[in-house]
Symmetry: C2
Subunit: 240 residues, 2 copies
DNA sequence: AAGTGGTCTAGACCACGGC
DNA sequence: CCGTGGTCTAGACCACTTC
């Protein structure tokens, strides 16, 4: 019969999308059976192996659980550990309104240490964007982003107060972000930070240095974040 | 022909093991082709789908990279991000000698907040183990572990100065640790910590609270760690 | 053009779970 | 017992990369 490939999609992906949509719509809840391999194969008129491939993929993504001899069931909603999310996404995920104040958006050069983090030549021009993150009127973080000026020159003129940097990068430049390496430690607030974050000078702050890579493994953004510990905790899950 | 299942192993796992062993032995290096699906199928006398299944599994585990139209190649050795490792394992992995000083190992009770982290009744008895971690003579962390006294009562009499807690748990109690949830923030050193870590009072410290779960998802150890930031940085990789 | 991975078929037997 | 997922066969066509 050969794959019909309506939608241009492989059969196994079509099956996955049907199941995902049913979960999304609320037709299927955690613990509900999603249908056996044989059922799905019959319903979608594909072979067993193809239905199986579809379910195996969903299991790998943590969407379903397969229990030998029993069936395949919708997995309980996962807490997203170790996920790379923009500030906007993080806030919305917690049901809060993202709110930040732009401190500066300008060109810099001769910052060889920062350039090195982005794998650029030592004296490369870079865009620097500094923002205070806040909940209501209370500041809880200062985040400073650096990007290559060559690639993202007109970023400084964009409305980053209202748009997520991630979104701008994707829509304006077609850059998809893939993963990030973070370096976490603690430091004391200097005078300026103390002022911006409304804490005493020398107060302990959580410092996160983050290099965000595109899906093509190119270092794209360097972020230096300083967080008030009583207002921001980092959650990590480690696996054996 | 039916699967012969010598070794009692499925064919695809046998194929995986053969490849993994060749990498381990140094016969195959990063970038080397591991053989095409068709080659492997012929060599192991299995069908294409089975050889394919073997390679797909290795790819999921990050051991090989598959490039359509080109072939399947040994993946570059991966840095172990977000891995749950004992202090001993971490030190050995960096080529350093693990060294720690036991401050106390005793029974406690009436610590409802800690008991709650381990999903125990509020007034449960627990084992408390407090250790200073150091490189040479320089202290860089204080780690305090809590475990259920019911299950691990004779832990206090064991030689934790020489043995990894992870190892003791596995060998003595048959407990296999699976994953951990960490909560990271910053705090200031109180008088006692300042003393133990040889820093000024109020100095910023990285604080990591960790609940370590067994492979059966049972909360087993609660660890409170305080780290000197200039001597200890946390590395995390986040994925999109 | 030859070879590779990606998708797919239409069957098969096995071990295991729940009734 | 019957249905489930887990493994496997012996073929096939497609899109792609490499030469």
């Amino acid at each position: 019969m050969l794959q019909a490939r309506r939608n241009g999609l492989p059969a196994y992906k079509r099956i996955q999308e049907v199941i995902l949509k049913r979960i999304e719509k609320g037709e299927l809840h955690a613990g509900d059976p999603v249908g056996s391999e044989r059922e799905l194969a019959r319903a979608h008129r594909v072979s067993l192996m193809t239905a199986r491939h579809a379910l195996a993929g969903l299991e790998r993504d943590g969407m379903v659980e397969r229990r030998p001899g029993a069936g395949t069931f919708v997995a309980p909603p996962k807490i997203h550990f170790n996920k790379l999310m923009s500030y906007t996404e993080q806030m919305l995920g917690r049901g809060m309104a993202p709110c930040s104040k732009l401190l500066c958006a300008k060109m810099i050069e001769k910052e060889p240490e920062i350039a090195a983090r982005l794998a650029l030549a030592p004296n490369s021009r870079m865009v620097k964007i500094e923002r205070v993150r806040q909940t209501q009127a209370e500041p809880f973080a200062v985040e400073t982003c650096y990007l290559s000026a060559d690639e993202f020159s007109d970023l400084i003129s964009m409305s980053l107060a209202t748009n997520s940097l991630f979104t701008v990068l994707l829509n304006r430049y077609g850059v998809n972000l893939g993963y990030a390496d973070e370096q976490v430690d603690a430091t004391g607030a200097d005078k300026r930070m103390a002022d911006l974050l409304a804490v005493p000078e020398g107060a302990p702050l959580l410092r996160i240095r983050q290099v965000i890579y595109s899906t093509t493994a190119k270092p794209t953004i360097y972020v230096l974040g300083l967080y008030r510990p009583e207002r921001h905790t980092l959650f990590i899950r480690r696996y054996r």
